[in-house]
Structures are given as C-alpha cells and as structure tokens.
Symmetry: C2
Subunit: 132 residues, 2 copies
DNA sequence: CAGAATCCCCTTCGATACTG
DNA sequence: CAGTATCGAAGGGGATTCTG
C-alpha cells in the first residue's frame, strides 16, 4: 500500500501531474522502517547495513534492503561501498536532499512528544470505536 | 500495514512505551486518503460525507468511512450530526488537536513543491546533487 | 558482510449490495 | 444522506535459504 502511493506519485509526476506535493513528501518516509532509518542518519554519521539490522528490532534483511533501496531511489540516502581489509562493507548516509527533509521529521518528533504528553494527562485515546 | 503501525503505536503508548513520537505523528495521516481529508479541512470549513466522495476521486464509501473513523479515533477530526429538514446530515471538521498538525502538512506541501521543481530540472529520481 | 530469491501470510483496498 | 456488510483481489511484510 505504501508502495502503491509511492509508485502512483512517481507516475503522476513523471506524466506531468504535479499536484501531489504532500503525497510526494509522505512517500519519502512512508514504509515500515524509513522514519527510523532517516532519523538514525540525521547526525551525519554513516551506518552499515548490519548496524541497521542491530538497531532496528526484528528487521529481516530483505525488508531492510527494500527500505534502503527505495530511499536510494528517492535520493534521500546514498550508499558507499568500500573494502576493509578483505571484507566488503557498505555504509549509508543522507544525501543533500535527504538532509532537507529533516526539519519535517523534527517537527513530527516534536508534535508526537507533545501529543504523548497530552495523552498521558487525558488518555482519551480509544482503542475501539464502539464508543461514541 | 498502515493500520499495523497505527495500532502498534497505540499499544506501545498505552503500555507506557513513549519512544515513538515520530511514528505516532505519521500514523495520524498515514492512510490512503487521510492527507487529502485533513488538507481539505484545513480552512476550517466543515465538509459533508458525500462531499468527500465527490472531492476524492474513486473512493468507496467503505474506505472513506474507515479513514474518517480512524481520524476521529485519533482525535484529529470530529463529527457533527444535525438535521436539515427531514434529512440527516453529517459534517466533519478539524479538532483543536487536528489543527495543530497543520504546520507539518504545510511543511510537507512546501517540501514536495520544492522537490518537484528539482525533479523538473533533473528528472531522475536517482543520483546527482554534487556528491560530496 | 551485504544482499537476492522464494514462499506464505495478512491486511487493506475495491466493488457491490443492503439499511435507517 | 450516511453509512454497514460481505466477498474477492493485490501487494507489502516475515521467515528462510542461497550467493559473491
């Protein structure tokens, strides 16, 4: 589904329909672990593939690969291959474009923190819609 | 899947795990039509159920109902029932909490617009931006 | 170490029909 | 007008296995 929106936004833009700015933005970080990945990279430090598998609880490598590849396609992060002795290593870091989206993530972080405080005070956060 | 994240965030918060602020925020507008719905409501004017079915291309009433109900559960929008002559009508509008998320949507809109301009100039989703 | 390829599951969406 | 109910289809995610 996320992929669906992401693909549709791409298609719309490529066919000249530019009326989907918010959706484009959302499709940058929509995906199971993208917010987490981008957030971890925000300080500028590159992160290795396997570091992510440790940082993110219960990611399969397939899904991680998928999320990273989509972020690369969207030009949010980039990859650096290099050799470390005999071992091939890969690290990921934000692109310039990726950095420009950080204020939005920070705003989301802040909004979420505030909302959580509100919910602590008046936890009118219904798990069920059976109430009215 | 969106629902999955949304539910999981709820559960985490309710069990005292408050370390998911960004995810909470994202779960507010993640969903096929939620961004659209919130955006249409941003000016403060209430919108009727059937108006949404006209505004949003190809929504089924089931999906629309679902999206609206989730937004209500999350306290982003609220519902007003009233009678108009003999006809029951329902309209939706932002809550106070819903209004507080608008700056993020506006930032998303702006970021998306800028990104689209970039893509018009160099229309490849991959590459460039002057590799460090 | 960093993936790619499979297979299966589960949710979510879409279409249609029915209700108060 | 504003939903509900039900069924089917599609696609993303998880676990596992294989590769350079």
């Amino acid at each position: 589904m996320q992929e669906d929106i992401r693909q549709k936004v791409k298609e719309r833009i490529q066919s000249g329909d530019f009326d989907c700015a918010k959706e484009l933005t959302m499709s940058m970080f929509m995906g199971k672990h993208k917010l987490f990945i981008l957030w971890e990279l925000r300080k500028g430090n590159p992160i290795h593939f396997n570091e992510f598998t440790r940082l993110i609880p219960n990611v399969s490598r397939k899904v991680l690969t998928n999320q990273l590849n989509e972020l690369i396609q969207d030009n949010m992060i980039k990859k650096k291959d290099y050799d470390e002795g005999n071992v091939k290593r890969v690290s990921y870091e934000l692109t310039q474009t990726g950095k420009t989206i950080m204020p939005i993530l920070e705003a989301m972080y802040q909004w979420g923190e505030n909302r959580i405080e509100e919910l602590k005070i008046s936890p009118n956060y219904q798990t069920n819609s059976s109430e009215n």
